[in-house]
């Protein structure tokens, strides 16, 4: 186990809900409600969950685009939870973010050169052969023609625009990249290209990724470890192979059973788990285990006592009173590849 580059402990973000003329607080949307995880150097952590479970909020909390309500974020030994933006600025070189929508993440009034060169200007970094040369090198690295330096974003396709976004992210040679749904706005064929590009760059530049996605196949393709979120909490986290082959949390199980299988023959034998009802409102989440309203295994204890995130197999933790595929019952999970 190598050292961790990013450590998150009990992170919380509550968005206040106000009402009336005097903005009295009547409640809070608990978008992220006490999550903890570690990201190790050089690995890719996938963060999955359905819409509204707090994945994106988590990413924005880590990059300090929004202010955490509680908890602690440690990046490379620095506690950045409430660090002043001015002190944070030099640290931002090592921690960058890839954005979801390649159409809104590039300023339409700036040339590609200005967009990819912005990190140098903002951080006041001098490069040996000038910013232009550095930018063109990065453009080449992400598979774009360096001669496109003077072009504007509207002249590129979605996939190319996402490459421009990735080029900007890479400009300062960061150590950690938070990728917030890096491919969900792209066509499937382009998704593969961009995902593979991210993998190649990881090998080449020794990057660490936190990939936020709702697409389990994408996460499976690039992650070393996967964390599953439900309603602002992590319900299961483990090595990719173990988690996908022997999911312990009923929610993970249900998610995985919903992944389409392209081969109709294989599809026949599979049992799909259909969850009933909607995701409860994060404004008023169910007590104790948040999944008990939709869980087919729920018992009385699930409504009264919150299950802790416990490590049941090596490197595989789950927050459930009645985990499936637990080692005591089936002695296999860690070795399944």
């Amino acid at each position: 186990m190598s050292e961790s580059i990013l450590s998150v402990q009990g992170l919380e973000k509550h968005f206040p809900v106000t009402k009336g003329l005097f903005k009295s607080q009547v409640g809070a949307v608990k978008a992220v409600d006490g999550i903890s995880f570690d990201v190790r150097k050089g690995e890719t952590l996938g963060l999955v969950g359905e819409s509204g479970c707090g994945k994106t909020t988590t990413g924005r909390l880590i990059t300090r685009l929004i202010e955490p309500t509680g908890g602690k974020i440690t990046f490379e030994g620095h506690d950045i939870t409430h660090m002043k933006q001015g002190k944070l600025r030099p640290l931002r070189r090592d921690m960058q973010m890839i954005f979801q929508d390649p159409y809104s993440s590039l300023n339409p009034r700036h040339t590609v050169g200005a967009i990819v060169g912005a990190p140098f200007r903002i951080q006041g970094i001098q490069t040996e052969q000038g910013i232009k040369k550095a930018v063109q090198d990065i453009l080449e690295l992400v598979g774009l023609n360096p001669e496109h330096y003077n072009r504007y974003p509207h002249e590129f396709s979605g996939g190319q625009r996402q490459r421009i976004g990735i080029a900007r992210t890479l400009a300062l040679k960061p150590k950690l990249i938070i990728a917030d749904e890096p491919v969900s706005a792209l066509d499937v064929s382009i998704q593969a290209q961009v995902v593979n590009l991210l993998e190649d760059l990881q090998n080449e530049l020794d990057l660490t990724y936190v990939v936020i996605a709702h697409d389990l196949s994408v996460v499976r393709h690039i992650s070393d470890r996967v964390a599953v979120m439900y309603l602002g909490k992590i319900v299961e986290v483990g090595e990719r192979a173990g988690l996908y082959s022997a999911p312990m949390h009923p929610y993970t199980n249900a998610l995985l059973s919903a992944v389409p299988i392209p081969d109709p023959k294989q599809r026949e034998g599979r049992e799909r788990i259909r969850l009933t009802g909607d995701v409860p409102s994060p404004l008023n989440p169910p007590p104790a285990c948040r999944f008990h309203t939709r869980c087919w295994k729920a018992q009385e204890i699930c409504k009264t006592q919150e299950p802790p995130l416990a490590e049941l197999a090596p490197g595989h933790a789950v927050a459930c009173h009645f985990p499936e595929n637990a080692p005591s019952k089936t002695e296999t999970p860690a070795t399944v590849a």
Binding site: R60, T63, L65, L88, P90, R92, R93, Q96, M97, F99, Q100, D101, S104, S105, L106, N107, P108, R109, H110, T111, V112, A118, P119, I122, Q123, V142, G143, L144, N145, E147, H148, N150, R151, Y152, H154, E155, F156, S157, G159, Q160, R163, G165, R168, L172, V188, S189, Q191, A192, Q193, V195, N196, L197, E199, D200, D215, L216, S217, V259, P260, P262
Partner: protein, 333 residues
């Protein structure tokens, strides 16, 4: 959604995607949004006509003394020889001749052509500077309100409401009346004082509209991901405001400035018509219209300054519409 991702990555590796580059090794030159807007504008004949008229009017205003010395008589010179002494109206009804292209005024016989030409100076000067003033205040206030939000936005938005509800016309009349009494004690006097006053009144009370538009635009731009991207790179507030947001506001600012100018031309004419604006004998289009109402038997007296206002307003409106279509093709009509 899933399957293609399992394809092994080798053949899909990052290769430079060839964008249609045309034949040969021509240098790739991107077209900015401004250049594209200019191309669209060039195809819009109506807007180009408007632009042509505007340029013509500006040239007329700038070179008014020269034009008058070639084609007319000094604007304040009485030409009693052109007036029929019995009826006090110009000889031949209007006095239009090669010497007096637009005819002469009744009673004193001043050259109408020269007065219309000189009127363009006052009209355009006040309209341009007043627009500049309100666009400047409006943009600054709108950007600040939209970007900072919270109580700053609250205060500025309420201020906008107050200015939009302000009875400008009544205020202008009162202001001119009051200042007229102190004119002898002020540094600036006469026409310069009136011009400054009109620019202030028209410009300062008009920033509410543009500030509202800019505030809305800023609100929506602020939430775009490229602003987040700049922030995650460690950009400070001024960088985000001036480098990321402001360039995206150039289009709406230009459009509303062009559409505000004709409104201000009309407003200045209205104030002069009411006698609140520039005082006689200085020639203004509104003032001439006001004088002409007393002489309905000589329609040309009203026709020429009226046409001047009409053409100016129309030209700016057509150009402004064309500019909006060119800069913001999605807006539709």
């Amino acid at each position: 959604m899933t399957a293609p991702l399992d394809v092994s990555g080798d053949e899909l590796k990052a290769t430079p995607e060839s964008v249609a580059e045309g034949a040969g090794a021509k240098a790739i030159q991107g077209r900015s949004l401004g250049q594209i807007a200019w191309m669209r504008l060039k195809r819009d004949k109506v807007a180009l006509t408007g632009a042509g008229v505007i340029i013509f009017l500006i040239l007329v205003a700038v070179f008014a003394p020269l034009i008058v010395s070639w084609f007319g008589h000094p604007p304040n010179q009485f030409n009693q020889d052109q007036i029929d002494t019995m009826t006090m109206i110009p000889k031949g009804g209007s006095g239009i001749s090669w010497d007096y292209l637009f005819g002469v005024e009744p009673v004193n016989g001043r050259d109408l052509f020269s007065r219309v030409v000189y009127g363009a100076r006052i009209s355009l000067l006040i309209a341009f500077l007043a627009t500049l003033l309100s666009v400047f205040i409006g943009t600054v206030m709108g950007v600040i309100a939209g970007y900072f939000g919270g109580w700053v936005d609250m205060i500025i938005s309420r201020l906008m409401d107050i200015f939009l509800a302000f009875p400008v016309l009544v205020f202008a009349m009162a202001l001119v009346g009051v200042l007229g009494q102190f004119e002898t004690q002020l540094e600036v006097k006469g026409d310069s004082l009136r011009i400054l006053l009109l620019i202030f009144v028209i410009g300062f009370f008009n920033w509410g509209y543009i500030a509202r538009i800019i505030r809305g635009q800023t609100l929506s731009l602020r939430e775009r991901e490229f602003v987040d991207a700049a922030r995650s790179l460690g950009a400070r507030g001024p960088y985000i405001l001036f480098r990321e947001i402001l360039p995206n506001l150039i289009a709406p600012v230009l459009i509303y400035a062009t559409l505000l100018i004709p409104t201000n031309v009309l407003f200045e004419a209205a104030l002069s018509f009411l006698g609140v604006g520039i005082q006689p004998p200085t020639a203004t289009w509104g003032g001439m219209l006001a004088a002409a109402t007393k002489y309905y038997t000589v329609p040309h007296f009203m026709f020429f300054p009226g046409m001047a206002i009409f053409i100016t307003v129309l030209a700016f409106n057509l150009f402004g519409d064309g500019l909006r279509d060119a800069l913001d093709p999605k807006s539709g009509r």
